[in-house]
């Protein structure tokens, strides 16, 4: 595996346009299209408390009419030209993805520019997207995965922006006004907040010129509230009653920041506990040995203001208490840092060997490049990353295990778990 671990999977260029817009680029000419991913530090956490869902609703409307094109005309420009443009919002980010054939590239970037700079927010699409979000919220009320995860964030971050639902509430969505949507587009989507990744059939000069034309009109600086770092409230078990045969459990605790020196050791620790599919301890104990669940997994959630380690398991109501006990036991066991040499070696060979698999399509590469810029990992990250995994020693791993797993969990359960009640 050593040779693969040091071979750069793709050549990354840092493109800086004459106007000063930065992007990471991988040129890949074999298929005549490109994928772009972009991120503004402008997500749901910046929504006013009584306007939860504002960024999400704005994202839903940017591609619903802009510049000279009313909603249906704009959608036609996209669909008739096989241009895929979509906006989204999560806790930290306001994001977009663009995919276009080479033949329609100029037009695709022009539509992106119009969506960012001249969104119309006409009454019909505003009411339509509002109705769609309200319908989505109602559907999610009966989705136990959503209910369980929502309960986790609401309890962990009560009083902080991270505790509010990204997609809002029926009440907040009903109240959002056109001028508030317009303000998100005008004030939050600024050059200072922007990161861009591009992969596909385009060279650096061609991209530089498109970057200027597309993004130069954005304001230099954003106007948005100051948000502060926080930590999740841990220790409780909370049951949200739902009339379903199987309980959905969300568990988690404080994670490790993306730019922390222990991040790679934490990646290995999570792989061993619950990130490694059929190779993980949780999968072995919960599913393979006891048949308690179809899915059980964990991951590092790189939220900027409160990094998290999160996981989930789904088990029939009668047996779910046993699954939770096993999760607690395995977390406690790994907190001691006791890891077999074999587990460390296996984690490293998987994490390094599978890295190129995560870079096999233009969409994947664009997303990876975007992540590199958002997290400040540098242009050479693709070459360096496997070395960073390889460099994790036993002591590093033990320290990361202690930091990740020594302490209390917050557990939320949606369902009718037997023998389990909320702790407060």
């Amino acid at each position: 595996m050593a040779d693969r671990a040091t071979t750069p999977p793709a050549r990354v260029e840092e493109v800086v346009s004459p106007g000063g817009i930065r992007a990471y680029l991988v040129t890949e000419r074999s298929i005549p299209f490109l994928s772009l991913a972009l991120h503004f530090q402008a997500g749901a956490v910046y929504d006013p408390p009584e306007r939860a869902g504002l960024a999400y609703m704005t994202a839903g409307l940017l591609d619903e009419g802009a510049g000279p094109y009313a909603s249906q005309a704009f959608r036609r420009e996209l669909e008739d030209n096989a241009i895929r443009l979509a906006f989204d919002a999560d806790l930290d980010g306001f994001t977009a993805t663009l995919k276009t054939l080479t033949a329609t590239r100029e037009h695709a970037f022009e539509l992106l520019r119009l969506a960012l700079l001249e969104p119309r927010f006409d009454p019909e699409p505003v009411e339509r997207i509002r109705a769609q979000i309200l319908a989505e919220l109602r559907r999610r009320e009966s989705d136990p995965d959503y209910v369980s995860s929502r309960a986790w964030f609401a309890r962990a971050f009560a009083g902080h922006g991270y505790g509010r639902p990204v997609r809002g509430t029926p009440d907040s969505i009903a109240r959002i006004a056109r001028n508030e949507l317009l303000a998100v587009a005008r004030e939050r989507l600024a050059r200072s907040e922007l990161s861009i990744g591009v992969a596909g059939d385009i060279g650096p000069e061609e991209l530089a010129s498109l970057l200027d034309r597309t993004f130069q009109g954005l304001p230099d600086r954003a106007s948005k509230p100051v948000v502060t770092a926080t930590e999740p409230a841990l220790g409780e078990t909370i049951v949200v009653p739902m009339p379903i045969p199987q309980s959905i459990v969300t568990f988690g605790r404080t994670g490790i920041p993306r730019n922390d020196p222990d991040y790679y050791a934490a990646t290995i620790a999570n792989y061993i506990l619950g990130g490694g599919g059929f190779s993980s301890r949780l999968m072995e104990e919960v599913r393979e040995k006891r048949g308690l669940a179809y899915s059980v997994y964990s991951y590092l959630h790189e939220a900027r203001l409160a990094p998290l380690w999160l996981g989930a398991v789904a088990t029939s109501n009668e047996r779910v208490a046993q699954s939770i006990a096993i999760v607690r036991e395995e977390v406690a066991k790994l907190a001691s840092g006791e890891v077999e040499e074999r587990e460390l070696v296996d984690a490293k060979t998987y994490l390094t060997g599978s890295f190129p698999l995560r870079l096999s399509t233009n969409d994947q590469i664009a997303r990876m490049l975007l992540g590199m810029m958002v997290h400040g990992l540098g242009r050479r990250f693709l070459e360096e990353r496997n070395g960073l995994i390889e460099a994790v020693g036993r002591e590093d791993l033990a320290r990361a295990c202690r930091r990740l797993y020594a302490g209390e969990l917050l557990i939320t359960v949606a369902g009718r778990p037997e023998g389990l009640a909320s702790t407060s």
Binding site: D80, R138, G277, E284, L292, L357, L359
Partner: protein, 440 residues
């Protein structure tokens, strides 16, 4: 991969897309290779021509159970080790089952292809199951069913709809199986099914990535070519009688907050297409309900403001006749009855007024242009060929797709609409909250 690819909207329609190389091993196993050299990676798939529509009577979903058990060890690989060996070599692996096929795959560095081919060939012939691994896995399937179906009212409605659509054909069975039949699976059931269907002459090897047929052939011959062929039965399924009665299924559940309306029609597949309507239907469904400029979305969602979402879906790859579905979800406060009346009116308008040349050309142009994106994903390409080859089609079904779509004219689309949108062949499904009843 250096040719210009599909030209969007104007220009010549290509006569090939992926340029696969195909050959057959002496034992009857088919092989398809698609070369894509952009990374030193391969996607390795083995497909079996057997799926949940071939479940033994009273054992619905057994093929899916066997799919899980294929990870439970052979004479030389310990239970659970398969995926761990793949992971230790930097690869990802999994499997999936549908009505017509069961497939296993690994994505891995090219220099590990030999290893995964050895492992996959081993479990094709040497599965070795013990009770202590079979029965906990049956519990896993029960949990999988609860997670995917029993916890979700929408999935329960989908099951009822499918079972009502097919009066007789085994497509009426849920892929994962009925709960009480899952509970009845035995180790012997699984082994009998495995011995019946799993043989090289009933399997297809598909490799996509940094490899060509010249490189793959010796590996394929060494690992799969060594396995003896066996007599594998024809897939004989009871066939659907003529349908004369429109059906309605309604799931009223206190868990439901957002109602939904689905209209399913019995439809030809590309393989089972006596009337020659499959290609016309593919274009029709895109024109009528694909995306946000389609007729259904424009009328029900934008212009009338009755629906939050509306669309249509049709997948032409199926061994026997399949379904085409229209769906709509009402905006808050809109009764489902009113939405259903609007859906009926759009169907009537289509049947009475036909389609416009301009909307047809736009639809076809978009479908052909979008096809370029399909070349980007190794696994996606392997899945296209696998689905075609396990549903009675050849590689020309994929390579000839652009020509097939380009040839669809107004008459073909309108004929497909008349042949498929027949009330007597339909099931209407409604998902309703308990507290407000049928008014949605």
């Amino acid at each position: 991969m250096s040719e210009a690819g599909l030209i969007p909207l104007t220009g010549a329609v290509p006569t090939a897309v992926f340029h696969p190389e195909c050959f057959r091993l002496a034992n009857g196993m088919e092989v398809v290779v698609v070369t894509n050299r952009r990374a030193p990676v391969v996607a390795h798939y083995v497909w079996y021509r057997v799926g949940c529509a071939d479940s033994p009577l009273g054992k619905s979903g057994l093929p899916h159970f066997l799919e899980h058990l294929m990870f439970k060890g052979t004479r030389t690989v310990a239970p659970g080790e398969f995926s761990k060996i793949v992971a230790r070599n930097g690869g990802n692996d999994n499997a999936f089952t549908s009505w017509d096929f069961t497939a296993y795959f690994q994505t891995i560095a090219k220099d590990r292809l030999d290893l995964v081919m050895r492992l996959e060939a081993d479990r094709m012939a040497n599965l070795d199951l013990s009770d202590e691994h079979v029965y906990p896995e049956r519990d896993v399937i029960l949990e999988e069913r609860k997670q995917r179906v029993d916890n979700e009212p929408q999935a329960l409605l989908g099951e009822a709809l499918q079972a009502a659509q097919f009066l007789h054909h085994p497509y009426r069975l849920p892929i994962i199986g009925w709960l009480h039949e899952i509970a009845s699976y035995t180790r012997e059931d699984a082994i009998a099914f495995y011995e019946h269907w799993y043989a090289p002459n009933n399997a297809i090897l598909i490799v996509v990535g940094d490899i060509d047929a010249h490189e793959l052939r010796p590996l394929a011959e060494r690992h799969y070519g060594a396995l003896p062929p066996r007599a594998v039965p024809q897939r004989r399924r009871v066939q659907e009688p003529p349908q004369h009665a429109a059906r309605r299924v309604e799931l009223v559940d206190p868990r439901v907050r957002q109602p939904q309306l689905v209209r399913s029609f019995l439809a030809p597949s590309q393989h089972a297409d006596d009337g020659g309507h499959a290609a016309g239907l593919e274009v029709l469904v895109e024109l009528f309900g694909g995306g946000t400029t389609s007729r259904l979305y424009r009328s029900l969602v934008v212009e009338q403001g009755l629906a939050a979402a509306a669309g249509a879906g049709y997948q032409p790859w199926s061994l026997d006749p399949t379904t085409c579905r229209l769906m709509a979800s009402p905006r808050p406060g809109v009764p489902v009855d009113r939405l259903e009346a609007a859906l009926d009116a759009e169907i009537a308008k289509l049947l009475d007024g036909g389609v416009e040349e301009e909307e047809l050309e736009r639809t076809k142009g978009r479908m052909l242009a979008e096809a370029v994106y399909a070349r980007d994903s190794l696994g996606g390409v392997a899945r296209l060929f696998g689905m075609a080859l396990t549903t009675g089609l050849g590689i020309d079904a994929i390579e000839g797709w652009p020509q097939r779509i380009a040839a669809v004219d107004r008459a073909a689309v309108e004929a497909a609409a008349r042949a498929v949108f027949v009330p007597a062949h339909s099931v209407t499904g409604r998902l309703l909250p308990a507290e407000v009843g049928a008014d949605g």
